[in-house]
Each structure stands twice: as C-alpha cells, then as structure tokens.
Amino acid sequence: MNREWLLNAALLAGLVVVPGWAVWADEPFTIMLATRAVIFALAAAGLNIALGLGGLVSLGHAVFFGIGGYAMGVLASHAQNYTPLYDGVFTIQGTKSMPVIWLAAAVTSGLAAWLIGVLSLRTSGAYFIMITLAFGQMAYFFAISWPAYGGEDGLSIYVRNGFPGLNTLDPIQFYGLCLAWLCLVLWGYARLRRSPFGLALDSARQVPDRVRAVGLDPRRLQLVALVLSGAVTGLAGALFADLNRFVSPSMLSWQMSGEIIVFVIIGGVARLFGPVAGAVFYVMMEHWLGGISDYWQIFLGLVLLAVVLFGRGGLIGMICGKGRPDA
C-alpha cells in the first residue's frame, strides 16, 4: 500500500463524497461539474491506453469522442422524430436506450480507430501526430458540411436518453452511471497493464526490435491498443453528448483532441489515475479561473508549463514520485 494507491483512493473517495454532498446541499451545478470531470476522465483514460501504455501520441482522439457523440445524437434524433435511421432491405430504428447507444458509440469509434490506425501506424513520431491530426480535421469538416445532422449548428436532443431502472434526468443518477463506467474502465486499465498484452505493448513502445525478434508484431499490438483506446473515448463522447443533450462539430475539433491530451499530461501519463487527476483539475480550473477571467486558459497554460517542466509524471508524479515497474 504505497502513496500512489492512497492518492488514488482519495481521488475516488472525492468523486463519491463531493457529489453526495451536492445532493444533500441541493447544488445540482456541482453535480454537473463533477459529471463533466468524470466524463473527461473517461475520455482521457481511453487515450491513456494508446498514449500511456502504447506510447502513441494521438492528436486525433476528438474523432472518437465526436463519433461517440454523434452516435448518440443520430440514434436519439431519429428516435425523437420517429424516423428510421435506415430503411432499405431491412430497417434500423433510432433509439433512446443508453446501452444500445453506448454499444453503437464504442463499436463505431473502435472501427474508426482501426481504420485510422491501419493507415497511421506505418509512421511514428511527429508524422504519426500529424496524420492523426489530419484525420481529426477531416472528420471535423465532414461533420460541419453534413446538413442532415445539423452541420455547423450541431444537433439537440430534447430529453436525455434512458437507462433501465434509473431516472437519468436526475443528475446524481446520471452521474452514477458515468462514475460506474469510469471505475470499470480504470479497473480494466489496471488489469490490462499487467496482462500479457500489456507487457507486449509496453515492450513495443520501448524496444520494437526486440518485440519482433521474439515473434510478435509491434504494429498489430499498437493497432489493437488504438482500437481499445478509441472505443473508450467514443463511449465517453456518447456520455458527454447525453450530459449536454447536444452534439456539435466542436466535439471533433483539434482543440478537443488537445484538451484530452492535456488531461493525461497534467494528471500523469501512464498513471492509472492520471486521467482522473488531470480532468478533475482541468474542470476545477475552468470553473474557478473561468469565473475570474475569460482568459483563464492563460493560467492553465502556465500550469501546464510548470507540470511539464518540473513534474514529468504530472500531478500524480509530483505527489508520488516515479512509478515502479510492477511484475
């Protein structure tokens, strides 16, 4: 039981206690902020699979976040308008059911990650960053110029989607769903890191020649990591769209990709709770500094500079020191 374990437990406790207090004190806005932080943390936890474990600096994760958002928007808008999504040989109806939307979001964003990965993993370093950025921009401009789903104006959903047995319109119940997803993904990340796949992926990042020499293909390992990563970030996108009851091309913008990277870097790359620490910190800054000045991102920039210069392991690394290999 070391320092990082305690810090993680404290963060998790905070994610339970603070919204709990907000219910008691009747502060729905705080719950909304917490939900936002948890969803960002989920998106960043997805990126952490590719960036932290795989060493893949993807500047295109907004693609998956946005695809998840649009998966929700498209399915829900057809459901609320009573129009079929596809009516040909067979018929696909829209839906307001969260489990179906989540599945659609994870599958479509995972497929997109596979497609992008197949093409971009031929490169590495700065070229990989540029190619993922290029795919991001393509998706962004595609969404802007596609009038069927709102184009530049985005797409509004009147009522939040439903989950069997829960009232998702109640902020704390929706928050509970998001937190459950975050916990599940963090559990999966912790397992993944110590799994056979995790070892092979970590080695592919550090010594690809060695991985080939023992009979494994580093590119395939990284492709699978990217697909898992994209699927998780896509799921976060669906939740984010549901939180706002709105999806727009801005979810696909490269600024969004940058923000997801910032969550991971501020919190600590490859640290289990790095995405959580980063996203919570970001949302708190956004709220407090945003209340002081419209130019709050200047301060965020300074913080980011400090973290990168003085704490290579992000917030988690600053508090707990360098991580140790676990075997």
Binding site: R191, G198, V207, R210
Partner: protein, 249 residues
C-alpha cells in the same frame, strides 16, 4: 544438405554503389558454433539483418529448418525458433529483468491477446522465464529494474531472452561487446555449453572467444566470403592473415 539448420544461398545486397553482400553462402550445422569474423565494414551486420529478416536481400535465399524464409518477416522467423541477441542490448530498461524474459516466453507462446489475466501469474510463461534466468545466473536479479543492471548482466539478459524462445538456432551479434576479460571468459564458458541446445551463428570481434568456441569460422571481407573452415584452417590461411588477422596471429 540435411544437416544444415540455417543457411544462406548467394545473398546479394547493395546500398547504392556499396556492395554489402556479394554472393554470401554460409551454412550453420547441427551442434556447431559457426563464427563470422571480418574487419569493420565487412558486411557482418548486413548479413545478420538479412538472416533475421529486418533486411530483404536483392537476390539469393535464406533457408531455416528446410524452409525458404526469404520472404518471411522477422517475427515469423522468430516464431519458427530463430533466436537472436543484439549487438547493443535491446532490452526494456523501465521493466524488471523478469518482465524482459517473460516477453520472450510470451512471444514463443504466441498468445499475446490476453487482456485481463496477470502475465506474471501465468505458470507456463513463468516456468520458461525462470528457467532461462537460472541458466544465465540472473535468478536473484529477477525483480530488479533492467536499467539497474551492469553492462555484463545486460549481455547475459540478452542471452536469457533468447533462451526463452524455444530456440532452434541462435544468431548472436557480438555478445561479448563491451565485456571485460573476466566477463568475456564467463560468457565464453556459457556459450560453449549452449551449443548442445541449438547451433549458434556467432558474429564476434573477440578473437580469443572465437578461437575458443568456434567449430568453424567464416571470414567476411568487403561483402565476400574469403574463407570458411576450422579454426586451424583459418589461422593458417595466408589470405586471412593478410586481410584481417595481421601477422601476429
């Protein structure tokens, strides 16, 4: 040629005007240590790269276990049992010693697509990994970070990883590089015992080690084989003395 485990046939490789391999044909036989020697720039690394699969020859063939593997990628050759060690250690420095050998065992098992089970709790992989550490004398260092190992220990770990791969042939690229006299002697004794496991194609600059270990030696100069034979043959060969060994040898 039923006895040859690994062989090359008329390998040619040129980089622009530089002919790095000019019709290289060598054979690695069962139970032998076959050393490749030659001055810097003789094309040893290019030859290794073509044998292991990271470089495609312009023409010629590489045969392993009776199969033409010229078109196969590195990882496919490795899965057949071609185990190599690197000239400059290719080890994951942030991982423990144990994790490095586990990776070798994992590659040999061919089952990396397991996402939720603990790799360190996989009894099969662990047994293979621990046996390799025991054999190379690294068993007490298993939990150490690889970055904390001495240079000599890293050279041993290179060999340990190769041992986990169910090897049918070893290709070792200067395993003695950077070792002191003591370390070199130690590793020489170890490789000597290893030849019963699988034959070794040994590229090495340390002539004491080569003469102590090799059953046969091939001398490479400017991309050509100028001589192949037993240690005595090579020592006596006037062409080799002239080109490489110098008069003192």
């Amino acid at each position: 040629m039923p006895d040859s485990v690994l062989s090359t046939h008329e390998l040619h490789k040129a980089f622009g005007a530089l002919r790095a391999s000019e019709g290289i044909s060598i054979r690695l036989l069962h139970g032998e240590i076959h050393a490749i020697i030659g001055p810097n720039g003789a094309g040893k690394s290019t030859l290794i790269a073509q044998i292991c699969g990271s470089l495609r020859p312009d023409s010629g063939r590489v045969t392993f276990l009776g199969r033409d593997v010229t078109a196969l990628p590195t990882e496919a050759r490795a899965r057949m049992g071609l185990a190599r060690t690197f000239q400059t250690s290719a080890l994951a420095m942030d991982q423990t010693v144990m994790q490095n050998v586990l990776l070798g065992a994992l590659g040999a098992s061919g089952r990396p697509w397991r996402f939720l089970s603990r790799v360190a709790r996989d009894a099969g992989l662990r047994d293979t990994a621990e046996a390799a550490l025991l054999e190379t004398g690294l068993q007490d260092l298993a939990r150490l970070r690889t970055a904390e190992l001495s240079h000599g220990q890293r050279r041993q770990l290179e060999v340990a990883v190769a041992l986990t791969q169910a090897p049918r042939a070893f290709v070792m690229d200067e395993p003695m590089a950077g070792l002191g006299a003591e370390g070199s002697r130690h590793l020489t004794g170890f490789l000597d015992r290893l030849r019963t496991r699988a034959p070794i194609l040994l590229v090495e600059h340390d002539m004491d080690a080569v003469f102590a270990l090799a059953d046969r030696i091939t001398v490479l100069v400017y991309g050509r084989v100028i001589a192949t034979g037993s240690v005595e043959d090579i020592r006596a060969d006037p062409l080799v003395r002239d080109a490489y060994l110098g008069d003192g040898a």
